[in-house]
Subunit: 364 residues, 2 copies
DNA sequence: TGTGTTTACGTCAACGTTGACGTAAGAAGA
DNA sequence: TCTTCTTACGTCAACGTTGACGTAAACACA
């Protein structure tokens, strides 16, 4: 019997997930420069010159090569090209966002796309769903793909694992959340300020029992928004009631349940601050079914497409998503063209958009 | 003087957009298998074996190699790897959608991402904004990148230009709109049916003067929805009034203007069908400012996140975005693993979601 | 003990492309 | 006319990796 002793390390470094469609009728191979060269009766290098628009090819030869290209459906192979070239740019940047289907991430992605468009960089977008493991996996994959840069809305708390990549020259721009244990660019908004504004706005409407719903406290933005909420209460000399702060609310449905629960208390809150767009929607739903949308104040974090069409229209703290995406793109492009200045930390101020739901005064 | 005669073709086949950050402090070069091999005192091939988890490396050697990998921050180079490998999969599929920031495209993208996740394929997403030229450019770029497959919500009308790629074995799945001049997979919904349902629903509420707003008629889905609208009118023996059909409405603001205009006619429509989500929003806004949201019927095409929270809640024709994305992913994966069956043409039925705005009866 | 088999490596070439450099023919200049 | 320069090519090697194949040592089996 053979007993294998020793280390159990047997792990491949290369992800093995890629389906090795073992059989599959092999595709008709793409033609290469060699084929084109043969058909045009020139050397491969000449084809390369023509295809790349380099000088050093006569008009007739150029003609012949281009005809051969057409005839053979030749397509340049970017992989081979960047492998050989000096400055090997893959022309890909990875965008690791929270959930591409969510309007915040989607808007951000779109703004980023626009900012990068002219530079010929493509965006590989991924949803992390707040799963740190996925984040690591995707980063590994992107590094393996030799992505030129990363845009990261991190699911993880600590980012030391990116140190080596960053040192190796990979530009990384954090969005929405700051890096920890890594000194790189970031574009965030002032969440403390935003939540303070939201809360203070309700306080100004004479509310004192203001509840707050928030996402997982481990998520930095959530923690900051909670801090802003508490700061505003403190500034207004409103005592903090732990029962009115519900963190770790993760879905629209859960938000609705939580709000319903709070409303059915003996001393229900008279206003709500919701820490994220889906929580706001849940809250609206709960207020609606309790028939209290016009009695209870509500200020939501994050604006969304139809917020002004709800009854009452929603007062929100708006982040300028296009601006954020634009800044991220700008920084990334600068890094891609060799900018080695110290990290930028852009912090944008959110704005309060009063529409009605936040201006409901305290019913006395 | 030298006069250059002959063809003016001087165009490079390779996109030249990629910023050639000519100067830029060159990045510290990534270490390669060679470096690892040297440090570990083995051959490059052995490193390859260890890194790929292939058999044929003793435990001690494996150990040494992995240590060297760690020390040097070695990262596998997928580009070089797929270049050499037989079945050269890039592990990228392109998703060419209308507008990634729009909830329909974003939802689709997210569903596609989920469907493809387990297979280790990444999605490179692009917004086409209904610009056929951009479509072509992006396709060219993706082919150059040797994408394994394409998901296409086309901006163009004719798709012959994809024939060569398709023949070369590139799986292409059309979404939302059917291919023309190309026989490949598609996943669409029955737009005629959807618009018929919408219109018939209003007719059932005794409406006779039903207006329709639609996107550019050149967009296939828009044309089909118009056809469905007209079919429903015909079936109900309602005569078609050309003044009530407004095609080529392209934005939310324009939709609002058009609706306002129609409402101010001598014989205003009593109900609206809107052919796309942003048009619906525009219509809601116009009805709202005219104070007519509760008098005028409205059925919108496409559901969206807060449609049920508006007053009155919006009756819509819903496309099951997750289902569509799932089907697309399923087909694509099958193709990627070698399925050569004749093209699938999945046509899903939309559903009418009655919520209020479509059930407003004709005010007599 | 010899022979076949297995294991653990190594060597070499190739994937598709481009940089470095070579060269022959023609143009320019003395 | 001879030299030098320029133009339009070609040749070769290399980018980082892996497939095909070779080989020496260890092992199995009769």
């Amino acid at each position: 019997m053979l007993v294998v002793k020793g280390s159990m390390r047997n792990t491949a470094i290369v992800p093995t997930t890629l389906t090795q469609s073992s059989s599959g009728p092999e595709r008709p191979a793409r033609s290469t420069m060699k084929d084109v060269a043969q058909l045009a009766g020139v050397s491969v290098k000449t084809v390369s010159r023509v295809v790349n628009g380099e000088p050093g090819a006569s008009v007739e030869v150029r003609e012949r090569v281009l005809q051969a290209v057409d005839r053979l459906d030749y397509r340049h192979n970017l992989g081979a090209s960047t492998l050989r070239r000096k400055d090997a740019r893959s022309g890909i940047v990875g965008a690791l966002l929270q959930d591409i289907g969510n309007s915040f991430s989607a808007g951000l992605l779109r703004a980023l796309e626009d900012a990068l468009r002219d530079s010929g960089v493509s965006v590989l977008a991924v949803s992390l769903d707040e799963e740190p493991e996925r984040e690591r996996g995707v980063v590994a994959d992107l590094v393996t793909r030799r992505a030129d840069g990363l845009v990261l809305m991190p699911a993880s708390r600590r980012h030391e694992y990116l140190l080596s990549e960053h040192r190796a020259g990979l530009p990384i721009v954090f969005v929405d959340r700051k890096p920890h244990g890594l000194d790189c660019d970031s574009v965030t908004i002032d969440n403390v300020l935003g939540a303070r504004m939201a809360t203070a706005h309700l306080v100004a409407g004479s509310h004192r029992r203001i509840a707050m719903l928030s996402d997982l406290e481990e998520i930095e933005t959530a923690a900051e928004r909670i801090a802003g909420y508490r700061a505003a209460l403190a500034e207004a000399d409103v005592s903090f009631d732990p029962a009115l702060l519900v963190p770790s609310v993760r879905s629209e449905a859960e938000a609705a349940r939580v709000v319903a629960g709070l409303l059915s208390r003996a001393d229900p809150p008279t206003a709500f601050v919701t820490g994220r767009n889906i929580l706001t929607i849940g809250a609206v739903r709960a207020l609606r079914s309790a028939g209290l949308s016009r009695q209870v104040g509500l200020v939501g974090f994050d604006d969304f497409p139809m917020a002004d069409l709800v009854e009452p229209a929603l007062t929100v703290i708006r982040q300028d998503v296009r601006r954020i995406g634009g800044e991220v793109g700008r920084i990334l492009l600068a890094r891609l063209s060799g900018d080695t200045a110290p990290p930028n930390h852009v912090v944008l101020a959110p704005t309060l958009v009063p529409r009605g739901s936040g201006e409901i005064p305290l019913a006395s």
